[in-house]
Symmetry: C2
DNA sequence: CTGTTAGCGCGTTCAC
DNA sequence: GTGAACGCGCTAACAG
């Protein structure tokens, strides 16, 4: 691996001159310039980012901590973040926290070793004070993505608002009962429930909760529900993975969508449109969110200090598909 | 960010002593040792990986180039690679080549800047001589993953053998016609076709190819096929993404699985078992492959030079599910 | 325009 | 056991 000093030797100039040529800051005599450039190209010179980082000009590294990249929503995010980072000359060093605070902390430590210029993180527990301490202790720009987070820059989805959209939709297609797949702490649920309660004081009595991820158990709950509840039931799942699972079980049980069950997922992954009936889902502005996070981060990296916190909420949009839209059959009756 | 020199100053010893304590090589007087360790812990010292890399002890960085992390198969791989790497004290710097040779080359260059100790790559074009040149020019250990690659270490799936398994299976469930979704250069297809031809000289006349990814077009082809071909058709898709797409279209067209169409995908992603009917798919030893790649790589990083090439083929296993197994209905007739 | 000098944080001699 | 001195590759003054 060739170095600047080596190029200097080969071309008979000093190493700083090579540096000047390769970084194109100050002016260098054209002929020297050409000679150096030629030599660098010939040997496919790549500057040693380590050495650069050492002298304090930054590492051009962004640490990214995701909870789980095998979730395709996060995989998409990482892809877009990489694209955005690359445009500005940054690379990504990636970690999975596995939804584990301990591991998350470990990731933060390791990133520090590489002296990343900044980091983007999907927090395991965004409201944990210890987490925010950890971030603050790093003393580098950091932006949280996906979740709203106090005291740090964040780019996130208005989950409550999205949940409300789903509520509105499910009401509009004539649901009489509801099932939420997920936990009640989820902001999606909160927004969903709140919107429901606006027009229906008895909403909670019409609601069934599915917290398990076990197919057999879900099937049991769904069967029991539909055996005893005539009319249409709106089902809202906290992500597409669960929604697809429910979709399959409904099919298996022979419960028709959207006539008896109007199903809505979250994330709008590619599977949605491949399913039959196609799955309605809330689409998050994935790419925009990723780009915005990276851009905010890089801007902060440039700033000397003392900036204001930015919280950038982004809107999600429900994409209605066959699994929940008013069907031909219903419309014409 | 505290440094060894700083710790040395605080504890009144020399910087090399701090280094000795923190790296635990040579012996240091216990009391000094304790004092230094205490100070390091107090300030949550993290060694500067840049400086370490600079002095030549390696960067503990592994470059990973995937074609597209938003494919959940690769996302899984990356997750397992990270786990394996972490166990040995390595971190991953991740790139997506987007199936683009140019970008791939760029990734390689950038990795070089960070002086990664080695790299794992899913080649865009594993048989491209230029690609192998690029890798060789890097002059660091590299292992190709997923695809068999000449002249470099590789861990891969025996796609042809997997294709043969699928052929065997589809024959055994009584298919009279076949559809392959993908391209004929695909090794899966080659193994599939070869196995078929062993027992059926007219196989190619019984085969329909679907190369498009467009839903409407696929639907057209499938409809035409099933309108004109009675009996059971075996469908083999080169990955689950396509298989799920076909699954939905078959459902939409009212073509029953597995009676009229026996469908098999590839990758065995989580969606397979959530679908109804559940999707048969070829399961690759994902985790093992990732771990093996990383382990081979790290072993090579340790070696001074001059090792032999290792090519580690791994077996895939067809997981038969409802979409292609002999159904109750068929069995009892 | 260009060379000299210094120093980033660390591991590695080599003396003491 | 431990400190002094050096160098990895590079950027940032500073002097010419």
């Amino acid at each position: 691996m060739i170095t600047m000093t080596e190029i200097a030797r080969l071309t008979g100039v000093s190493q700083p001159t090579v540096s000047r040529v390769l970084n194109g800051n100050t002016s260098v005599k054209p002929e020297v310039r050409e000679k150096v450039l030629a030599c660098a190209r010939e040997h496919n010179f790549q500057p040693n980012a380590m050495a650069r980082g050492l002298v304090g000009s930054g590492t051009k590294l962004i640490g990214v901590v995701l909870t789980d990249i095998s979730n395709s929503f996060f995989a998409d995010l990482e892809k877009y973040m990489e694209q955005a980072a690359r445009k500005k000359g940054y690379s990504l060093i990636l970690f999975n926290s596995d939804y584990d605070r301990e591991k998350e902390k470990h990731c933060l430590d390791v990133m520090r070793r590489y002296r990343v210029d900044g980091l983007v993180i999907v927090p395991v527990a965004e409201h944990d004070a210890a987490f925010r301490e950890d971030i603050k202790a790093l003393d580098i720009p950091a932006v949280a993505i996906t979740r709203e987070t106090d005291q740090m820059d964040c780019v996130y989805i208005e989950h409550a608002e999205a949940g409300a959209q789903v509520a509105e939709h499910l009401k509009s297609v004539g649901c009489e009962h509801y099932i939420f797949v997920g936990t009640t702490e989820d902001k999606k649920y909160l927004g969903f429930a709140e919107k429901m309660k606006e027009t229906d004081l008895h909403f909670e009595q019409k609601l069934t909760l599915i917290e398990t991820k076990n197919s057999r158990e879900i099937q049991g709950i769904l069967k029991a529900h539909f055996d005893t509840h005539p009319g249409k039931t709106g089902i809202f799942a906290y992500n597409d993975r669960r929604a697809v699972q429910v979709h399959g079980i409904l099919q298996k049980l022979g419960i028709s969508m959207p006539e008896r069950a109007a199903l809505v997922g979250f994330d709008n992954t590619y599977t949605c449109e491949y399913l039959y009936p196609a799955l309605s889902s809330v689409s998050q502005p994935n790419r925009e969110m990723a780009e915005e996070a990276v851009n905010i981060l890089i801007k902060n990296i440039g700033q000397p200090e003392g900036r204001e916190l930015v919280a950038h909420p982004m809107g999600a949009r429900l994409i209605v598909r066959e699994s929940s839209e008013i069907s031909e059959k219903e419309r014409t009756k």
